[in-house]
Amino acid sequence: MEYTRQLLEESGLGEDRLAMYEIAASDAPKWVAAVKEMTQRVEALGPSPLRRGIHLQADALEKLENMVES
């Protein structure tokens, strides 16, 4: 995992685009937290410089929370 992050960093895409979380199958809150964290991070990083013009939907986070609560 660290090595792959390093490869991405060297390539210029940045290591932050890849992460691994260990989450138990029953641990929904942790899963939500991880998805949130990653979503926020990806939003901050912006779209892949290789693929211009595709953006996250503005309400993606909100939809996600609704999904888990229901």
């Binding site: 490869l7 991405l8 060297e10 390539s11 210029g12 895409l13 410089p49 290789l50």
Partner: protein, 226 residues
């Protein structure tokens, strides 16, 4: 086997600047085992190059192929027709393979993807250590199977230097002093008298490079071969 490490990515990438279509040739033997230049590493390097050059707005076409061994004509000759389609080649073999491949395709710019480091063992997954300096004059029978030329940074042939501290090497305290190990091993085997005799100066003339070995059975065939 031969141990190698991948070159810094920036060095490989910079070398590719003039080209649009390159071929990465991996090697399926030693450098595959040490995770430096086998099929998987060829794929990773191709991916990285495409990403990095893509970020600079450049489209690089990358071909990938891995042969059994680049140090053997049998395996690299078949690449002949294939290679002509590319502007340049990166070989992720050790220096041996890179040179053999380069000699076969004299018109093609060829770049090494690895730095060749040493002859070593696979201690554990991802962990390689040196064992042999290919010195043409093996002492292992005298020194209890521990090489003084390789395992002692100074290559001393007659016992430890004064720098070891509690059996640890002066050069790298994490490592055992080779001569302390040799002594201990031979002492346990009751063979210390083997190292009491003064070992004469090493015959460096034998390892004048580049070396050539011709198997006795093939002497007539290669008579006059230099």
């Amino acid at each position: 086997m031969i141990i190698a490490e991948r070159k810094p990515f920036s060095e490989i990438k910079d070398a590719m600047a003039p080209y649009d279509k390159i071929l990465i040739v991996g090697c399926g033997t030693c450098v595959t085992v040490c995770l430096a230049g086998g099929e998987k590493e060829v794929g990773l390097l191709a991916m990285q190059l495409k990403l990095a050059l893509g970020l600079e707005g450049k489209h690089l076409e990358v071909g990938e192929i891995t042969v059994e061994r680049q140090c053997d004509l049998e395996f690299i000759q078949p690449l002949c027709g294939f290679i002509t389609n590319y502007d340049a080649i990166i070989s992720t073999a050790c220096g041996v393979g890179v040179q053999f491949l380069a000699s076969l395709y004299p018109k093609k710019p060829l770049f090494p993807g690895l730095n060749t480091t040493f002859l070593g063992v696979n201690e554990a997954m991802g962990f390689y250590t040196e064992r042999c300096r290919a010195c043409h004059n093996c002492y292992l029978g005298v020194t209890g199977g521990i090489c003084p030329v390789t395992m002692c940074p100074k290559g001393l042939l007659n016992g430890p230097c004064g720098g070891n501290v509690q059996g640890k090497c002066e050069v790298d305290p994490a490592r055992a002093c080779a001569w302390c190990e040799i002594y201990e091993k031979l002492e346990r085997q009751g063979r210390l008298e083997q190292i009491e005799k003064i070992q004469p100066l090493h015959p460096h003339d034998r390892s004048t490079n580049p070396g050539t070995v011709i198997h006795p059975a093939y002497r007539r065939r290669y008579d006059g071969h230099e």
